[in-house]
């Protein structure tokens, strides 16, 4: 079992993280990775970047708990969560999640579950830096609904 959790203000390189992740696998037949990238289109004006705040060690502890839930629920060989904090420019990667399992379904679902956790429960605060000014943004109703799916169906 290989688990990597990292929260840092350093840039995330998806190709490097994925290569490193795959190099640690010995028995998986399915590898899923998700990268969240800062979009240029905001609600009203062009987004220049994001500012991400965390609260250590609550942020780390919460992610560790979610990782533990994923490991209990799906037969994973490896799991990685990298999340960026601080100032992140448009086009840069804010989050990288990877999962590996014997078969694809577990890897897909575990990555989906972890992303839903990160979007609505992980202890981060997010500010959009736009041409029209800076705005704190909080999860959308859709994000909460997405996260609810995992409480409704213990076995998918």
């Amino acid at each position: 079992m290989s688990v990597h959790v990292n929260i840092s203000d350093q840039a995330i390189s998806t190709p490097e993280l994925l290569k490193d992740f795959e190099s640690r696998l010995t028995s998986s037949g399915g590898v899923v990775s998700f990268s969240g990238v800062v979009r240029p289109d905001g609600k009203d004006s062009r987004v220049l970047g994001l500012f991400l705040q965390s609260y250590s060690p609550m942020t780390e502890n919460g992610i560790e708990t979610a990782v533990g839930q994923a490991l209990n629920r799906w037969p994973l060989e490896a799991l990685a969560v990298h999340h960026r904090t601080g100032e992140i420019r448009t086009g840069e990667t804010i989050v990288f999640v990877a999962t590996a399992s014997k078969h694809r379904r577990a890897a897909f679902e575990a990555a989906d579950f972890l992303m839903d956790y990160l979007k609505t429960e992980a202890v981060f605060w997010k500010k959009e830096i736009t041409e029209a000014g800076d705005f704190w943004i909080e999860p959308r109703e859709q994000d909460y609904q997405d996260n609810q799916r995992w409480q409704q169906s213990e076995t998918n």
Binding site: Y55, L118, K119, E121, W125, W136, E138
Partner: protein, 82 residues
């Protein structure tokens, strides 16, 4: 002395991300922190929003939680990363 942290949009209301202060003696429970912060920053109700949670020494508490010389208090509006 207690460190008070104002996360997310709350720092726009307070004008600062944190401060180190002596809590007034009549602030004895977590709920008192809400009314204290409301008055201190003329916050138009943001500190009373139920979705703004309070953490004491790194643990989220409910409004009835008693305060015993906490080192750190955090006001936490709704969270979310990704």
């Amino acid at each position: 002395m207690t460190d008070i942290l104002y996360f997310g949009r709350l720092s726009d209301v307070t004008g600062k991300p944190s401060e180190n202060i002596e809590l007034p003696s009549d602030v004895s429970h977590a709920r008192d922190l809400r009314t204290w912060a409301e008055a201190r920053f003329e916050a138009e109700g943001v500190f009373l929003e139920p979705t703004v949670r309070i953490a004491v020494n790194g643990e989220i508490v409910d409004d009835a939680h008693p305060l015993a010389n906490p080192n750190e208090i955090a006001f936490m509006p709704p969270v979310g990363g990704g």
